[in-house]
């Protein structure tokens, strides 16, 4: 689904924040990306959701070499990926419903085509009664669930989440993780970036990618319990 080969990345003329990264994400699998703050997790996610270009190496997404793709070909690729940003990145002037509907709108769908799906999804994440609320009036947990709903509303093949429990209390964090597990069961491939050890221990990750100082320190195909003792 996603394959990195000797990928390096730097911002502008600065030092490389990612070095010699090679790994692959398997379809339908639950992946965890771990490592301490500043290890490069967010930069790695940015490369996957095509917000940045690598300074070297090869990135293949859904069977296509992204480096060889024209800029105009990237939007359809982005639509196959859902992203839950660390800081949610909701648009404050839009309602919850409008925020969640955004990916369907940019696909050119009309309200009649997406409205029922959006309402159903918001009910599923427990926000069926907050459709008309604006993000500034929502709690951290509610914002996080809106961000998740927006990321999955277009039924992406791969869902990326950057520190999804970083801004919410442990109870909400647990609920969010159960939501991810459910999405994975429904067929969405997952890559969750987190340095929260409790989350790592509770998730049924099939693969764990561990970043350290811009390098991929270890990749593990072990189940979570075995990985913990590795």
């Amino acid at each position: 689904m996603v394959r990195f080969e000797n990928v390096g990345m730097r911002y502008g003329l600065g030092p490389e924040v990612l070095r010699d990264i090679s790994f692959s994400l398997e379809r339908g699998a639950f992946h965890l990306l771990t490592g301490p703050s500043g290890a490069g997790k967010t930069s790695l996610l940015k490369l996957i959701y095509l917000a940045e270009r690598p300074s070297r190496g090869l990135i293949s997404m859904f069977g296509r070499d992204t480096g060889a793709m024209a800029r105009e070909e990237l939007p359809p690729l982005r639509r196959r990926i859902g992203v839950v940003f660390q800081d949610f990145r909701l648009l404050d002037h839009l309602t919850v419903l409008e925020n969640v509907a955004l990916p369907r709108r940019v696909m050119g769908q009309t309200e009649a085509q997406y409205r029922a799906d959006v309402e159903e999804l918001l009910s599923w994440v427990g926000l069926g009664n907050r459709l008309n609320a604006k993000p500034p009036t929502l709690s951290g947990g509610e914002k996080q669930r809106v961000a998740i709903a927006r990321a999955v509303v277009a039924k992406p093949e791969l869902l990326l989440a950057d520190e999804p429990t970083g801004n919410v209390d442990p109870d909400i964090g647990g609920r969010i993780m159960r939501l991810f597990i459910e999405l994975n069961r429904l067929g969405t491939s997952m890559l969750i970036a987190t340095h929260d050890q409790r989350i790592i221990e509770r998730l049924p990750a099939t693969r764990i990618l561990k970043l350290s100082e811009g390098r991929l320190a270890t990749t593990s195909d072990l189940m979570q319990s075995e990985a913990m003792h590795a």
Binding site: A51, L74, R78, L91, H93
Partner: protein, 298 residues
């Protein structure tokens, strides 16, 4: 479940940059409308003056020892009225002739002492070519002291003055348009910076550049149109107020001779173009700016 609109624009309707752009476009539109009003007025005056002068000629009869005054007048009227293309010829009374001189010489005894020539006002048939050179020769040859003034010298000077004034007006209008363009580009870039979050999020969820540009251009087109109509409204109020002031009884002496701003209905249609153009300028500059910025994103 209550109906909720899910098709609001992506841009916040009342952002700070929008308010600034709104005000600036209103001011620029106001200036553009006033300038356009002045240019249209000058254009109308120029054509009125030149049409008025080219539609008539004057025959001057200077006293001559070879012919008596009455014979001189009747011969000149006879030749003129018989000439092809002449619609009417009328001798001006001495009072009328002196009335023409009053604005320059004032009232009083001075005029009574002056040897004011006999004048014949000649109106040409509209749309017909008249051989004025032939008429002039015929008058000079047959009526001693007669001289035909076809107003060509005045006509040329007025046409030249009107053309240069119009040119200055159009140049000012062009400068205002360029300034508006620059301001809209600046405000669009500021707006883009202020709403960079929106652009990035929508870009990252897979929106094509034309979709984002479409949202921006629609937002800025409405800002441009609204600002343009505000400026137009203020300009029309100003022009109407000036016209009313010049025509009022309290107006200073001579104000009634000043030109009427925007007297023709079609001029208002021209003015309506100003907000339409500000809207289009805002729309296209927003589109170009957004596409340029997006082009720098991966």
């Amino acid at each position: 479940m209550s109906a909720i609109n899910t098709t609001s624009g992506l841009m916040p309707p009342d952002s700070a940059s929008g308010a600034t752009l709104h005000t600036i476009v209103a001011v620029m539109s106001f200036l553009a409308c006033l300038t356009l009003g002045a240019v249209l007025t000058l254009s109308r005056l120029a054509s009125e003056w030149t049409e008025g002068l080219s539609g008539s000629v004057t025959v001057q009869l200077l006293p001559s020892p070879q012919i008596g005054g009455e014979d001189q007048l009747s011969d000149a009227l006879r030749i003129t009225r018989a000439w092809p293309g002449i619609f009417a010829a009328r001798a001006l009374s001495r009072e009328e002739a002196m009335g023409l001189l009053e604005p320059w010489l004032g009232e009083g005894n001075v005029l009574a002492d002056l040897p004011v020539p006999q004048l014949i006002e000649v109106t040409l048939t509209p749309g017909r070519q008249v051989d004025l050179r032939g008429l002039s020769k015929s008058l000079t040859g047959n009526v001693p002291g007669a001289h035909l003034d076809d107003h060509q010298r005045w006509n040329r000077e007025l046409a030249s003055f009107a053309a240069s004034s119009e040119g200055v007006g159009w140049a000012v209008l062009l400068l205002i348009t360029l300034a508006t363009l620059a301001i809209v580009i600046f405000a669009t870039q500021a707006g883009l910076q202020a709403h960079r979050e929106i652009v990035e999020v929508v870009h990252m969820i897979g929106a094509r550049d034309v979709f984002i540009a479409g949202e921006f251009q629609r937002h800025f087109m409405w800002l441009g149109l609204r600002g343009g109509f505000m400026g137009l409204g203020l300009a029309i109020l100003t022009l109407v107020a000036i016209s009313l002031m010049w025509n009022s009884r309290d107006a200073p002496v001579g104000a009634q001779y000043l030109p009427q701003f925007i007297s023709a209905p079609q001029h208002y249609i021209w003015l309506l173009l100003v907000p339409a153009i500000t809207g289009l300028i805002a729309m296209f500059t927003a589109r170009m700016t957004v596409l340029r910025v997006l082009g720098r994103m991966p």
